[in-house]
């Protein structure tokens, strides 16, 4: 498995994701500068990391979505290869129309950094195949614009197609308003495209990938994608 982590000017979590991938997947892991027009040859997984690409100016993710590398990322996704956007990376994916919907300012209108619980809504995705269904994971969030919004009708479609991958829940796995940190529609924390090869989520699995830092629930995500690619072969 070959992974590439895109670095935009203003990316913050690039090194964190690189480290998590190096520790928990086998194969080559490399950074890619946003101004490149091509991804490294035979890249299986592209990660768009968290941070404040272009300072979040205009709208979070709006400028990064138009970076030179994004053309290659779109082609990569169109071939059925895998793309993961975390936090600001999720915002880039919606701005690039690789995922539906938009991420609006949190209901509290404040930045929120804290551990959250999310529930695995489906194991039928490359990113969650090694979890059990409805498993509750502790992933931290750290964002100002994380309220996932989509018109109700399209939301129904998303639900029907099994594109909702993670939802915010309480520690026992129950959905509630209190467990929804940012006011996201239907407690949505992460969604995939219809083909499920592109995933965006606001919480940070790379911050839950090391026992010394208080959590290992994210490791399953790296293992999921690794074994998915090993089983299905390169697209």
């Amino acid at each position: 498995m070959r992974s590439a982590v895109v670095i935009f000017p203003g990316s913050n979590c690039d090194q964190d994701v690189l480290r998590a991938l190096r520790e928990h997947t086998r194969g080559v892991v490399e950074p890619v500068w946003h101004a490149n027009e091509n991804l490294p040859k035979d890249t299986d997984l592209v990660v768009l990391p968290g941070g404040f690409s272009y300072g979040d100016y205009l709208r979070p993710g709006a400028m990064a979505a138009r970076s030179p590398i994004m053309k290659a990322v779109k082609e990569h996704a169109a071939r059925g290869r895998y793309v993961l956007g975390i936090c600001n990376g999720f915002q880039v994916l919606t701005e690039a129309h690789l995922l539906p919907g938009a991420l609006l300012p949190n209901k509290s209108l404040s930045f929120i950094c804290r551990p959250c619980h999310v529930r695995v809504e489906t194991t039928g995705s490359p990113f969650t195949s090694r979890y059990s269904r409805h498993k509750v994971l502790q992933f931290p969030i750290a964002h100002h614009e994380g309220l996932y919004f989509l018109p109700d009708k399209e939301l129904e479609e998303l639900e029907k197609n099994g594109q909702i991958i993670f939802r915010y829940v309480d520690s026992r796995g129950a959905l509630s308003e209190e467990s929804n940190p940012n006011g996201s529609k239907d407690n949505i924390a992460g969604i995939a495209n219809a083909e499920r090869n592109v995933l965006g989520l606001m919480p940070h699995p790379e911050r839950a990938s090391d026992p010394a830092l208080g959590g290992i629930d994210g490791i399953g995500m790296w293992h999921s994608i690794q074994s998915w690619i090993e089983e299905k072969g390169r697209k």
Binding site: P9, G10, N12, C13, Q15, D16, R19, A20, W33, G50, G51, F52, Y54, G55, D56, Y57, S110, F111, I112, C113, R114, P140, A142, H144, H204, E206, R207, S209, D210, A212, L213, G214
Partner: protein, 714 residues
């Protein structure tokens, strides 16, 4: 132009003429007005700061550079410093606080270090006061807005509320970074023939003479000073960080300096002076954001996110290539010369020509009159009060008071985890971050105790430093060094200067006795309004090293059946305690005298406890005393404790007095013997065994842990 127009006194002007052996021209006078301001020259405090212990086996760089550096081992160092941004935050809270964070991050970067952890010390006014509430909201948003965006985690801090900060809140920004010692930057390494470059943002009129603005009292017209507050752009700062670290890794720069107070002038003259060289700078070549800027405006502008680089001519192309990658302006605008003359030119015409050492270094020391305040004795007199009848309510009221209560409304607005090295984030007595290259951990504790510093500046100063070191020791961190920020009102009032002197003497004495050198720091005076002054507020951050997480003792980790011990005296003092403030609305009362031998003994034993892994949880007693410490421990673990001692002391003193070396430990039954060996012949009592659902202090409070948690969460 008159010297008083630039803030100089008659004596200072005369001294300047003596040193120059001529009258300065107008441009030169403006430069000196800023460089000889209190903020830049430390003219009121230089003799005081000399008392600090500044060297020791851990110190690689003491005061004098952008930040101090201590040794982490394996060829790596820790650069750290705390700095105030008080006046700007009083005028424009969001930008004032944001640029405070940005400025301290560049100080760390200027040492060649990657900034890895920030903390903030906030001293805020009465939260019920609308004005101070609005300031607090803006400040917290500013700290978060900048720190989150640049990707440096805010791992902890200190927040203290008191009405003396209503109009003059204090914002102390701390940053630490790790530096490969091969890449350590010095301002002493510029050589003739090298070029001077400006990297980063364009220069505008923002913050012109901000340093001079920070050197006078605030007043009702201060809002007019808004042009003197700089505007931050964290996106540029983030690129500046990555760009500078890339330049250092490629060994492309000879020296580097951040542009803080007095911008181009102070950064370049400091390099010239410390390197023993001269410089010729063409100010019109500096990229400008505004039109028709005068030379002195360019020299003094405090526009943010700029760095001064000194580069070998052969490496300029390579430097510019890296800057282009990060989309940053990088412009050559001067040259280092052999002759020790600092020359500013505009369109080829010389506008200032001065000896470099004179600019930053020679401001005459001011010896302000010093006098013990007449009311000093009365500050140690305990107001009359009756012991509590409703103990449960008292405990809850302390736990939910602004200064002792939960502050997640603040720290949840800060990204405390980015860079994935945060082992212990905000809300604990220490913050702990992992240092991967040196394979160990660094703990930070930030402390301040303005009430005690007001009652007895000397004892309060000593207690502030001791508190920080106690937290480190209990966590298992051996001290590496400390940094301090001295926030005080005007030194021009003799009693206020006396407080400053005494506080520094107490701090210096304590850091010397406990062998923790002061490696960097900052002074902020003139924190007062016509209606009032701030309390004496020295803040310290101590850094310590934890070799492995096996020898780290966290707090809040009681386990069922653990035995709970109080080490230290049964009671401390009521002066400056949250209990007395709660009961009477005054914080006056007696303090404990600083006892260096006892402190040292405590630190040694606490470190030994951690090294032997003899306890599961440890918490030094601080604000709110034993009662609040017990409540915080029980809330964190969810278990109760029944304290059934018949102490030969007043119960309110046992539970709520403050000061001196005392700590609470939770020890597994099988480790008790080992633990008692370590603490043999040190005052100690066993409080009880962890079990049940209630925190019960016999004769005092008896309250369920769930009720404590509920009150805390609200």
């Amino acid at each position: 132009m008159d010297y008083s127009a630039v803030g100089l006194s008659r004596e200072e002007y005369d001294s300047l003429v003596d040193l120059l052996r001529r009258e300065p021209n107008e441009t030169e006078l403006r430069l000196f007005g800023v460089m000889w301001s209190e903020h830049c020259s430390y003219k009121s405090t230089r003799p005081l700061l000399k008392q600090f212990l500044t060297s020791g086996p851990t110190v690689l760089q003491g005061p004098g550079e952008n930040a101090g550096v201590v040794d982490l081992g394996k060829g790596w160092g820790l650069a750290f410093k705390v700095e105030s941004h008080n006046h700007p935050s009083a005028v424009e809270p969001y930008q004032g606080a944001a640029t405070g964070v940005g400025g301290i991050i560049r100080d760390i970067l200027a040492m060649g270090a990657r900034p890895t952890a920030s903390m903030d010390g906030l001293f805020l006014g009465d939260p019920k006061n609308l004005k101070s509430h609005a300031l607090a909201q803006g400040i917290v948003k500013g700290v978060g807005g900048y720190g989150n965006s640049v990707g440096v985690p805010t791992v902890g801090g200190k927040t203290f509320y008191h009405e003396s900060y209503n109009k003059n809140p204090l914002v102390n920004a701390f940053c630490a970074g790790i530096v490969k010692l091969d890449n350590l930057v010095s301002s002493q390494t510029a050589k003739p023939g090298q070029k001077v470059l400006l990297l980063g943002a364009k220069t505008g009129r923002d913050g012109i003479a901000g340093a001079a603005f920070a050197s006078v009292e605030l007043n009702e017209d201060t809002r007019q000073s808004r042009p003197q507050v700089q505007i931050g752009d964290p996106f540029t700062e983030k690129r500046l960080i990555e760009c500078c670290l890339e330049l250092l890794e490629e060994k492309l720069v000879a020296s580097m300096q951040d542009m803080g107070a007095a911008g181009v002038l102070s950064s370049s003259s400091e390099v010239a002076s410390k390197s023993g060289v001269g410089m010729v700078l063409d100010l019109d070549k500096v990229p400008q954001r505004e039109t028709n800027m005068q030379g002195w405006e360019i020299a003094l502008s405090e526009s943010q996110e700029r760095m001064l680089l000194v580069v070998e001519p052969s490496k300029i192309h390579a430097v510019i290539r890296v800057a282009e990658k990060w989309d940053l302006d990088c412009t050559e605008f001067g040259i280092v010369t052999e002759e020790e003359e600092y020359v500013l030119r505009e369109k080829g015409v010389v506008t200032a020509s001065l000896p470099p050492a004179l600019i930053g270094g020679n401001a005459p020391v001011i010896h302000w009159a010093s006098r013990e305040p007449e009311d000093l004795k009365s500050r140690s007199a305990l107001p009359s009060f009756t012991p509590p009848e409703k103990w449960n309510e008292l405990l809850l009221s302390l736990l939910t008071s602004p200064s002792l209560g939960k502050k997640n409304w603040i720290w949840e607005q800060y990204d405390s985890m980015v860079q994935t090295n945060t082992v212990e984030g905000p809300g604990q007595s220490v913050s702990v971050t992992r240092v991967l290259p040196s394979e160990n951990y660094v703990a930070f504790s930030m402390e301040a105790d303005p009430w005690k510093c007001f009652i007895s500046p000397y004892q309060g100063g000593a207690e502030t430093v001791a508190k920080a070191l106690r937290s480190l020791a209990v966590a298992g961190a051996s001290p590496l060094g400390l940094t301090d920020c001295l926030n005080f009102p005007s030194p021009e009032k003799s009693t206020q200067f006396w407080e400053l002197q005494q506080c520094v003497a107490g701090m210096a004495e304590c850091s010397k006795a406990l062998e923790c050198p002061v490696v960097s720091g900052n002074v902020s005076l003139y924190n007062e309004y016509p209606e009032g002054r701030i309390l004496p507020t020295p803040l310290v951050v101590a850094a310590g090293m934890i070799p492995s997480l096996d020898t780290y003792i966290p707090s809040g980790k009681w386990q069922e059946n653990d035995r709970i011990f109080l080490v230290g005296e049964l009671e401390a003092a009521f002066g400056g305690s949250h209990y007395i403030y709660n009961r009477t609305g005054s914080f006056y009362g007696p303090l404990l005298p600083f006892d260096p031998e006892k402190e040292k003994d405590f630190l040694r034993r606490a470190l030994e406890t951690a090294a032997q892994g003899a306890a599961n949880s440890g918490r030094p007693l601080a604000g709110g005393g034993l009662g609040v410490a017990l409540a915080k421990e029980t809330m964190a673990c969810g278990f109760g404790l029944h304290v059934a001692i018949t102490a030969p002391v007043r119960l309110d003193s046992f539970y709520f007095s403050e000061g001196g070396p005392r700590a609470l430990y939770a020890v597994s039954p099988e480790k008790v013997e080992e633990f008692l060996d370590i603490w043999e012949k040190f005052p100690l009592i066993e409080l009880g065994t962890v079990r049940g659902t209630h925190l019960h202090g016999m004769g005092a409070f008896n309250i369920s842990v769930i009720d404590l948690q509920k009150a805390w969460e609200e």
